[in-house]
Symmetry: C2
Subunit: 117 residues, 2 copies
């Protein structure tokens, strides 16, 4: 029942927003802080939660930790991420997150590997 692990990860708003953003591009913790407007601890802990359960992978780039979706995802995760994308279209919070991400991208002060997709 790997599905359970997926749904457990999906059932918190902060984690859902994180996964939604990562569907667009890899990001580091400080980007999440800025886009989601949440304290560092909170972000960091949710990322740890997701990492422990294989929903995201992390890679160090100097001072930054760059988080992304795993390259190889099993069918269940892939299907649910797709479903999430579909469901999220109309929600104002997720739309706002996307706008904030776009704004960050124009700044172009990103560490290697993040924000370039």
């Amino acid at each position: 029942m790997d599905l359970i692990r997926i749904y457990q990860c999906f059932c918190d708003p902060t984690r859902l927003r994180i996964l939604h953003l990562l569907s667009q591009t890899p990001l580091c913790v400080c980007h999440f802080q800025e886009i989601l407007d949440e304290p560092q601890v909170k972000i960091s802990k949710h990322l740890a939660y997701l990492r422990e359960r294989g929903m995201v992978v992390a890679e160090r780039d100097q001072n930054w930790m760059i988080y992304s979706l795993p390259k190889k995802r099993d069918a269940e995760l892939q299907a649910n991420l797709k479903c999430l994308q579909d469901c999220v279209q109309t929600d104002s919070i997720f739309k706002r997150d996307l706008r904030a991400l776009a704004k960050l991208r124009t700044k172009a002060d990103a560490p290697d590997g993040a924000l370039l997709a």
Copy 2:
């Protein structure tokens, strides 16, 4: 963020099995007991949890409570139920549940409204 409510409902194995079965046909509590092989209290509580959150509806037929998916489901629930159906195809537990359901149907001792779909 209605999505959160959906994922909270999806993140327990018993509830997931219940929803999967209800995607096939309405059922009453004692059918769940038999198919899932779980105690009555457990089933009843998970059904209450799902009912309070609008994932299922209940209707009384004499002594029985017949549970089913709501006729009108919003897009998010519909999408996720579909996704669940897709993800579940290969899982042995869910397949076993379907076999147990089929066996129940042949008995044809169901109360009105359940098991007839």
